[in-house]
């Protein structure tokens, strides 16, 4: 089956930043995203997730390469300085290119 190259950007960050991140994604042209609560350990300490507000979330978004560039710039400028965050990009291949 034919698949199309896309970029996936993953943001792991404080649950409190959720609204800011999803707003930023929409502003830069992402058509959707997936968010879920996660737990773990990072530079700013353990994230137990026992209190949802002080837990972590992971947001995945799949976008074309040009949008990915803009998104990474915005995340670096508006989110990274303020919240405990990890951002990474990976190559994925999707069915139905037009959805992204």
């Amino acid at each position: 089956m034919k698949t199309h190259p896309m970029k996936r950007i993953t943001v792991v960050c404080e649950a409190l930043a959720r609204e800011r991140i999803t707003r930023l994604l929409a502003e830069e042209g992402a058509r959707g995203h997936t968010a879920y609560p996660v737990t773990g350990l990072g530079a700013k300490g353990a994230r137990d997730g026992d209190i949802a507000e002080s837990g972590n979330i992971q947001v995945d978004v799949i976008v074309p390469g040009t949008v990915a560039e803009r998104l990474l710039e915005r995340l670096a400028r508006d989110i990274l300085p303020h919240f405990a965050t990890v951002v990474y990009e990976s190559d994925v291949r999707v069915l139905r290119e037009e959805k992204f």
């Binding site: 700013k44 026992d50 949802a52 002080s54």
Partner: protein, 330 residues
């Protein structure tokens, strides 16, 4: 002596014992964990239960009885960050923005501590004004707003946008989750009155103590998971987290007695003054004062002050409140 026997007596209640059990469960590294939605559900139940009962009580007592204690609670919320700021800044040598953020936590309130205090009074059969839940609702936000203003002026950007501040005040004062739940259930209680209470007492009143004990079990684990951070915050903040609640408990219970509350009501205002927020305030600080270090304020409020209040604070504040009433100090 009475104080010591009172503390010993309150240690042997299910709520405190379950709290300690929770601490032990985490300290002993058992794999016991409550599912996260249960935490949310128990909070929801407890806030609705005391909000509802409080609303019925407001309807019975009349709004006129509530305004003076409510004003006292709001005043305490505004003032506490103002006097904790210089202590933290100059005695504790903390950064301005951290001093402001921690002050906001101590001026704001912990609903769980208040709930435990209500359980404590019920367990002893000591009467109190059920409308005191209104004090909990109005006291959550003032300190948060003061803390953000202080932090912006003293450290951070130095800029204050009035519109953003108004949005914050509105959000924290009315639309914050716990405040909305409390005020909303109070309104329901106020409108449905005694008949509504009688109809729902089997759910909202009778199981309260049991649910509270279960919730404190979970909170013991939540607090103990952060004990490791105590090493990161240093001895000053640990001392601050124990001494300030005691001072605030004295001021709050005195103020409660002065504005005409019963002994139990004065104790509750003391508890509100002594408690430190660990949900609403940290959330507001992360968003409005992101330069402040969350480890400092969260550890102080959740790993130091909260357990201290639950285990030793409640009987202490009850004893303090008793000093204001002839024949008191049970």
């Amino acid at each position: 002596m009475e104080l010591i026997s009172s503390i010993a007596g309150s240690l042997a209640t299910p709520a405190v014992l379950f709290f300690v059990l929770g601490v032990l469960a985490t300290a002993a590294k058992t794999d016991l964990r409550f599912p996260e939605p249960l935490y949310t559900a128990l909070t929801l139940y407890l806030l609705v239960a005391i909000g509802f009962k409080g609303g019925v009580a407001v309807a019975a007592a009349g709004l006129a009885a509530v305004w003076l204690p409510a004003l006292a609670a709001v005043a305490l919320g505004f003032l506490i960050p103002l006097w904790t700021y210089p202590i933290l800044r100059y005695l504790g040598r903390l950064a301005p923005v951290d001093a402001a953020a921690i002050g906001a936590h101590y001026g704001s309130v912990s609903a769980v501590t208040f709930l435990a205090a209500v359980g404590f009074l019920q367990e002893r059969g000591q009467p109190f004004e059920p409308y005191a839940s209104a004090l909990l609702a109005v006291m959550e936000s003032p300190a948060i707003v003061v803390g953000v203003v202080l932090g912006r002026l003293a450290g951070g950007t130095g800029r204050i946008e009035p519109a953003a501040l108004a949005r914050l005040a509105l959000h924290e004062g009315l639309l914050g989750r716990s405040v909305f739940l409390l005020l909303g259930s109070m309104l329901v209680g106020f409108l449905s009155g005694e008949r509504g209470l009688a109809a729902t007492a089997g759910f909202f009143v009778t199981p309260f103590q049991g649910v509270l004990a279960l919730f404190l079990f979970e909170m013991g684990m939540v607090a103990a998971r952060r004990f490791g951070d105590l090493r990161k915050v240093g001895p000053f903040l640990v001392g601050f987290g124990v001494v300030m609640p005691v001072l605030h408990g004295a001021v709050g219970s005195g103020l409660g007695a002065w504005c005409g509350l019963s002994e139990g009501g004065a104790m509750l205002l003391g508890v509100l003054a002594a408690s430190a927020s660990y949900i609403a305030a940290p959330a507001a600080m992360r968003l409005s004062l992101p330069e402040a270090n969350p480890t400092l304020y969260l550890t102080a409020a959740l790993a130091i002050t909260f357990p201290f209040n639950i285990v030793f604070g409640l009987p202490l504040y009850a004893w303090m409140a008793g000093l204001w009433y002839p024949g008191g100090a049970a």
